[in-house]
């Protein structure tokens, strides 16, 4: 019993290690020094308060997009639309952030709420189509991503600016910027959003594991027939699951709009945070605490990677390879488990 607990923790750690090992093989084969490469990576992620600040800033939206994907997974849905929901959340947060003049205690929560609502609304459509017409949510969410991108751009151009490419900055009262964090991290772009992201993780855990509604959502996710038999409203729960997932994604957008950037600009393509969220969720085992860690891993790898070309001459793309390898090893945890149990048996 204890052993399996241990393995539950060991498997992802081993997956990360294996990913790094294979990554260093790639580096050696291509003529780079893996020690220099990883030193740069680690320095670039945690080297001093500034880098730590940047890593945390990058981690913030990853946590929320990971939660969004995971929430859907846990309730039997595959939300590839986190990207689009994030973008509309970003838009809504900034919209509220620039349009009102309110005290901070009202304005900031209002802007975040608007983002959550926008993300939820964007997920409502695939939710309804899934619940009532059984249309596959994967296609609809892919389509909704593109619609979000273009519609947001149009709104930025015509409503949030005068045919410009970006909005005004959000008012101070709606900003997540923190002079304190700015000061202790030597002007990193870290902001208060991390607190919201962590609260998000707690909310997801609590909602799914501790509440009556969470029980229903999970039950419907596993077995719609049995849930219906037991008197749960399957359609409502599918829609609700999608909407909550979208709300997390929307808040991830608010982190960008109210924190990292403080405005929204027209986009030529996707931010990638939504798609990375799939990987974050999966590495984190679709579990709130796991996602906090895997988002941190992702954030550190992404931010640390920026240091690799200048300090070690290693292209940043290598980090994408390492991330991919880690995902592979996490996915193949069966084989790791098998090896572990062989080892542990051998040791006995």
């Amino acid at each position: 019993m204890n052993l399996s607990r241990l393995n539950q923790f060991l498997v992802p750690v081993l997956a990360v290690l294996l990913g790094m090992i294979v990554g260093s093989i790639v580096m050696i084969v291509s003529g780079y020094n893996p020690i220099a490469g990883y030193s740069a990576l680690i320095y670039g992620a945690f080297g001093d308060p500034y880098y730590i600040g940047e890593t945390i800033r990058q981690t913030t939206p990853y946590i929320l997009s990971g939660l969004a994907v995971a929430f859907a997974f846990r309730t039997g849905l595959f939300n590839i639309g986190v990207e689009g929901q994030l973008i509309v959340g970003w838009l809504a947060a900034v919209w509220v952030g620039v349009s009102f003049d309110l005290p901070k205690v009202i304005h900031l929560p209002l802007a975040i709420l608007a983002a959550a609502l926008a993300g939820a609304l964007w997920a409502l459509i695939p939710g309804i189509l899934k619940a009532y017409l059984k249309v596959h949510e994967v296609i609809i969410t892919i389509m909704m991503n593109y619609i979000a991108l273009h519609v947001t751009n149009a709104i930025i151009r015509s409503v949030l600016s005068d045919q410009g490419f970006k909005s005004k900055p959000v008012r101070e009262s709606a900003s997540l910027h923190s002079d304190f964090l700015d000061a202790i991290t030597y002007h990193s772009t870290m902001h208060y959003g991390i607190i919201i992201a962590i609260i998000g993780a707690v909310i997801m855990w609590f909602l799914l594991e501790k509440t009556t509604k969470g029980f229903e959502l999970r039950a419907v996710g596993f077995n719609q027939h049995a849930s219906q038999y037991a008197g749960m409203n399957v359609r409502t729960n599918i829609i609700l699951a999608m909407v909550i997932s979208g709300a997390f994604a929307g808040v991830a957008g608010a982190m960008e709009g109210l924190g990292t950037f403080g405005y929204i600009s027209t986009k030529a393509g996707f931010t990638g945070i939504g798609f990375d969220g799939i990987a974050v969720a999966l590495i984190g085992g679709n579990n709130a605490f796991g996602i906090l860690l895997s988002a941190l891993l992702f954030g550190a790898l992404k931010v640390g990677a920026l240091e690799m070309p200048s300090s070690a001459g290693v292209p940043t793309e290598l980090v994408d390879i390492i991330i991919a390898l880690i995902i592979f090893f996490v996915a193949s945890s069966y084989i790791i488990r098998l090896l572990l149990s062989r080892l542990q048996k051998g040791a006995e």
């Binding site: 892919i142 593109y146 393509g269 390879i321």
Partner: protein, 319 residues
């Protein structure tokens, strides 16, 4: 502009947009029909695009006009080999197939860009010099009305895509191989008790999807982008995935869906030159393909039944 003139622009461009999606979606059909989810189509296309461009740049001098064809062949092989990773992970290692597919996407992009940097010392390749030619199909292009619409100003691989859809239909629905493939995707244990090697069938199916995904990417790169960079394949694999689901996991359906996407895409582009659409704000035309797809799915296509065993690793003896 007359309607006919408009069609003359829209239809060839619809076919041209659709071709890479058709190849890739057909690949998806094979894999998912065997019960293996393939979210990695995007990555497989990326590999195909990369290999076909590198091959083309490297060997254009040696093979001349054959280069693009050989480059596609290389893309097919590379795609098939790369998809082995997905096969090993999701069939032998019992990995979550979605996770493994996501990893394929990450790995393909990271690896190809890394290699581009290694090989060319920059973030994107040069433009290829030998591509496919636009042709008017002999004889057929002279058929009145239809000829100019369907057989003029087109690329051979586009026709290949359409022919391949029918070939795939034949293979999946008319041959023993196809019957076994579908059996493995619907009820692997039943197939197992009938002496069919489930793992082998799934390996073959995933590798076919790799080959076709590679082909799709190769066709895209050779005809459309003509070079390889981080943005060459951006979302096309996901559109192919959508086409496959839209087409209800059926080769002809997938082709139809891809053509529909191509048509909507082409309409959204040409729309700006059509008199009565001219004053429509651009954004409506930009989102039109996606909105049309949603409406089509919600309106009359409705539910689609995925192969029953999709997404679950087959473990002998497990209920």
């Amino acid at each position: 502009m007359s309607i006919y003139e408009i069609l003359q622009i829209i239809i060839p461009s619809a076919i041209f947009f659709a071709a890479p999606l058709i190849f890739t979606a057909l690949g998806g059909v094979f894999s998912e029909r065997s019960g293996v989810v393939n979210i990695g189509l995007e990555g497989l296309m990326t590999i195909g695009a990369f290999v076909s461009i590198v091959f083309n740049l490297t060997f254009a001098d040696r093979f001349g006009a054959f280069t693009p064809w050989l480059a596609l062949l290389a893309a097919v092989i590379a795609g098939a080999i790369f998809s082995l990773l997905h096969a090993v992970a999701s069939i032998t290692f019992r990995a979550d197939q979605v996770v493994s597919g996501v990893a394929i996407n990450f790995l393909a992009l990271g690896l190809t860009l890394f290699l581009v940097k290694q090989m060319y010392g920059k973030g994107q390749t040069d433009q290829i010099q030998v591509g496919f030619d636009k042709i008017d199909v002999p004889v057929l292009s002279h058929i009145p009305i239809i000829g100019p619409l369907f057989f003029s100003n087109a690329y051979i691989p586009s026709y290949l895509a359409i022919i391949l859809a029918f070939v795939a239909w034949y293979v999946i629905y008319k041959t023993p191989f196809g019957l076994r493939l579908r059996a493995v995707g619907e009820h692997p244990m039943a197939a197992d008790t009938m002496g069919i090697n489930v793992a082998k069938m799934r390996y073959i199916a995933v590798m076919i999807s790799g080959a076709l995904g590679g082909l799709g990417g190769g066709v895209y790169a050779t005809i459309i982008s003509r070079d390889f960079s981080h943005a060459t394949i951006s979302g096309h694999g996901f559109m192919a995935l959508a086409a496959m689901i839209f087409g209800k996991w059926h080769p002809i359906g997938a082709m139809g869906a891809a053509l529909f996407f191509g048509f909507a895409q082409s309409l959204s582009i040409v729309g700006q030159t059509i008199p009565f659409l001219k004053n429509v704000p651009t954004v409506y035309l930009l989102i039109a393909p996606y909105v049309l797809t949603i409406l089509a799915l919600a309106g009359f296509i409705g539910r689609a039944e995925a192969p029953k065993a999709i997404g679950t690793p087959y473990i002998k003896g497990k209920r």
